[in-house]
């Protein structure tokens, strides 16, 4: 368990001669993160899929009253919504002032009417990548399905044609090439969560690895 806050830690293993780069305290930066500026590193573990918008679809099923699949046009017919703010990657970079355009996940969930017993979701990609999330983390205006970045189509290596974004959690939860959500009454580890990463991934609590 780390007791570090704002990059300051209470452990005593000072590294001889290490000063680090000059730093200004930035309250917008979660502990242990740095501002990547204009860079946007790509860290997917699989081959970037060649997925045309016409072949993209998004499904919600599991513990819902009416499972449903949306194609590209049907998804675009939902009320537009955007996110502007920061994103935080577990590999230590954060990026500020990003703009994503798409639809709030609430609009999709509204259409399928989740059962009261649903507590978690597994979000999965057209590549088979998965991430688990508490349902509460993807409702209430905190998650989006997006197809635009900075006013242009989302590039394939960043998850285009469409990805999930859950910007208040580490970005591995923001499944690229999103294919669907399954609602469950229990938590089930996704791809990285089964590889030693944290179940929830809150950057402000520095929940990087299992046990943090």
């Amino acid at each position: 368990m780390s007791t570090r806050r704002n990059g300051i830690t209470d452990h005593v293993n000072i590294t001889r001669g290490f000063t680090g780069r000059p730093r200004v305290h930035d309250p917008g930066l979660p502990p242990g993160q740095y501002d990547a500026g204009d860079d946007w590193p790509v860290l997917s573990a699989e081959v970037t899929p060649d997925l045309a918008p016409a072949d993209w679809s998004f499904r919600i099923d599991g513990l819902v009253a009416e499972p449903r699949t949306w194609d590209w046009e049907q998804a675009h017919a939902l009320p537009a919504s955007s996110y502007q703010g920061a994103i935080h990657c577990v590999t230590s970079w954060s990026k500020f002032g990003v703009r994503f355009g798409g639809v709030s996940l609430d609009a999709f969930l509204h259409g399928v009417r989740p059962h009261g017993s649903a507590t978690h979701v597994v979000a999965y990609a057209h590549t088979g990548y998965t991430a688990n999330l508490p349902l509460a983390d993807v409702t209430g205006g905190r998650a989006w399905i997006v197809w635009e970045y900075d006013g242009r189509p989302l590039p394939a290596e960043h998850g285009g044609p469409a990805r999930l974004i859950v910007p208040h959690l580490y970005f591995w939860k923001s499944v690229k090439w999103i294919a669907g959500l399954r609602l469950l009454d229990h938590d089930e580890p996704g791809f990285w969560e089964g590889n030693g990463y944290h179940e929830r991934g809150n950057p402000w609590e520095e929940q990087r690895y299992s046990g943090d």
């Binding site: 990059g7 590294t15 000063t19 780069r21 790509v42 699989e46 081959v47 057209h126 791809f191 590889n195």
Partner: protein, 263 residues
């Protein structure tokens, strides 16, 4: 649960959800979550230059739980005022019982952590690390391996090559490694018949200069082991994109391509 379990249905844990897609790349090994969350203090015991820009650092790590080739660790440096910088590094050495591991670091322009290693570090220095991490890019030596790396992306692949050699494995293993020129080729002296080097800017007499192409990759897919290859790709994102496309074009199944991007 209040439901009655019928006599014929054995009680079992719910089956895990697997997406109805065709790409799913399974993990390779389970990661021990307890060992992965412990910070250990390692002592730098040796420094060995590999190229003008890359250097290998050897550490004694008390209690190191052992790793599988391909895995990485998280390393942190702490300044006097408590400021911490942490970065991921692949493990270059093969698993052994020496209580030591090796990392190879590229010197990144203005790099906070790699800069400290290349200019300040000396034997006896203590730094902290945690791991090994990620069971995804790991290669336990169970399947034929086709390895594609560029620059310092060859580091986790070298752990596999060394493991293959140390255990005298008969299983096929091939390494295709890209470097700017011969002087930038990390581990150059260690490669054997399993390795083909590709040079992008300058090459020895008689060797072509240029990017990795379909012609480099196709022969491996044309003559593959009966069970096919498990492909591992490592390097910058642009290399990873390029190399993984070459593999797919040559017929390597996407669900058998594992990619580690250094960002």
């Amino acid at each position: 649960m209040t439901e009655q379990i019928s006599g014929r249905t054995p009680r079992r844990t719910p089956e895990r959800f697997a997406p109805p897609t065709r790409f799913a790349v399974p993990g390779r090994i389970g990661v021990n979550e307890r060992t992965a969350s412990v910070w250990r203090t390692a002592t730098l015991t040796g420094i060995r230059p590999e190229t003008p820009r890359a250097t290998t650092f050897r550490f004694a790590v008390p209690g190191w739980p052992g790793h599988v080739p391909g895995q990485h660790l998280l390393l942190r440096l702490t300044a006097e005022d408590g400021y911490v910088a942490q970065r991921h590094y692949s493990i270059a050495s093969a698993p052994d019982d020496s209580g030591h591991i090796e990392l190879t670091l590229d010197r990144v322009e203005d790099g906070e952590v790699s800069g400290w290693f290349h200019t300040v570090a000396r034997p006896g220095d203590r730094i902290e690390m945690r791991g090994p991490l990620s069971g995804f890019f790991a290669w336990p030596g169970d399947r034929p391996a086709l390895l594609l790396g560029a620059g310092s992306g060859v580091v986790p692949l070298m752990s596999m090559v060394r493991h293959h050699r140390a255990r005298d494995m008969r299983l096929p293993l091939r390494l295709l490694v890209s470097a700017r020129g011969p002087e930038d080729l990390i581990y150059a002296r260690e490669y054997g018949a399993e390795t083909t080097a590709v040079f992008t800017r300058s090459a020895p007499e008689g060797v072509a200069v240029g990017r990795m192409t379909a012609a480099h990759v196709a022969p491996f897919l044309a003559k593959q082991p009966p069970s096919g290859w498990e492909a591992y790709v490592c390097g910058s994102n642009s290399f990873a994109e390029h190399a993984s496309r070459l593999l797919v074009a040559a017929g390597q199944p996407v669900e058998r391509i594992r990619i580690e991007r250094f960002g």
